[in-house]
Symmetry: none
Subunit: 223 residues, 2 copies
DNA sequence: TTCAACCTATGACATTTGTCATTGTTTACG
DNA sequence: CGTAAACAATGACAAATGTCATAGGTTGAA
């Protein structure tokens, strides 16, 4: 159709009015991006999101009253497919993990201003974006196995923060519709062991059962 | 980035060399389509698909050695997001149902040559395409309720052949991760009734459990 | 070496899920 | 009117699923 003509509607949320204004100016100058609203804290973010339903929510984490993480959690509960990109001053370890676990589509550092617009485009294309500085942190946070490929691997690990390789394999099998017995056969382990892994996965991702896990998989990884 | 410049890489698979050549010529003439490979049967389709990972696989169903349906099943197992469009000589009833159930993105008739390129574009835009002749068949195959809207309704009906409205509602709730009790509450019916509906759905779609149903939902409806 | 993860495994247990037989109501069609 | 299909429900049952406690083996880092 005419996707190329439609601008990416972006909602900006930051407690610093100066930052908001700067971002709005910088992004507004891009031909394919339109700033559709601005907010100053998490509550406003949630309210504005429900009202405007933007394509992208670009949000700070540390904000008074209601943090970006809290807001994101609420928003994602309502709008599962929300594309939320965090924009912070420092790449704080716990925040990264928390944000990615929530299902954020990006985690950028304010210093890397020039990267923001391209990052938004990438997220709109279904990708996930981590700022360079963040990527390093992620790398050290989970001493990524051996000397394997860094790129996609780090992303994968990041998105399912805290999950082990085994657990991730099992997630993929569940997302293909296999039951515990089939998974056990495929992975050469006991069915009880599979159950244990599944149980751990569900706790880590705060899900209730394997069906929710499959849903989560397709909504977060794909989608 | 620059999606508008990148051509849609299309893999053509048909046992008739003449058909292959014709299609390649016709499609190659389109500014936004590029034929990236050709194959003569299902096995070649699978092999080439894995090698080239095209945007679109345009494939005949009836082929020697390995039918298009078999190939599609294998390919979709590996590449969940594969966009497979079947192109056949006749709109054969069973094939239509089978193809759509597999998760095909399109089912076209060779006679409607002029429609192929537009169909490819539609599929790339996330839509699903059924040739006009096919649509009629689908309509009669399942005497589509009453005189409701034909378009999207027919598609939905086709994709979930034989499913009732109620059943479809329940599918959507399952695809949101609700358990039977929650569905019962939401739909104002007994939990046992929900179980019965789920059981019927699974039989109709030939699935084993609700997790597979969720997987099926996201692989088929979404993409 | 000691410690912390991770992986594996078992047994017990409660819950959820799926199947089946059966029954009844309502609605649409011939 | 009779019939068929969709819808709702119940009870009973088998199977799958998820949780928990516990425990042994491996491996890499301090």
């Amino acid at each position: 159709m005419d996707e190329s003509k439609v601008k990416t509607r972006t909602l900006i949320v930051d407690d610093d009015p100066f930052v908001r204004a700067s971002l709005a100016t910088i992004l507004g100058a891009e031909a394919d991006i339109e700033v559709c609203g601005e907010g100053g804290n998490g509550r406003e973010a949630a309210a504005l999101y429900g009202e405007l339903v933007p394509d992208i929510l670009l949000m700070d984490i540390q904000m008074p009253e209601c943090s970006g993480l809290e807001a994101a959690e609420g928003i994602l509960r309502q709008h599962v497919r929300a594309r939320i990109v965090f924009l912070t001053t420092f790449s704080d370890d716990e925040y990264i993990v928390a944000a990615l676990r929530l299902g954020a589509r990006g985690y950028l550092i304010k210093q890397e201003v020039a990267n923001i617009a391209p990052a938004i485009r990438a997220v709109m294309a279904g990708q996930m974006v981590l700022g360079g500085e963040v990527l390093e942190k992620v790398d050290t946070l989970m001493q990524a196995g051996s000397g394997g490929a860094a790129g996609r691997e780090a992303l994968r690990a990041a998105q399912f923060a805290g999950l082990t390789d085994r657990e991730f394999e099992i997630i993929e099998l569940i997302a293909q519709g296999l039951d515990n017995k089939e998974i056990a056969a495929q992975e050469f382990m006991g069915e009880g062991t599979v159950r244990n892994h599944v149980s751990t996965i569900l706790q880590k991702l705060q899900l209730k059962n394997r069906t929710q896990l499959a849903v989560y998989y397709y909504r977060t990884l794909k989608g």
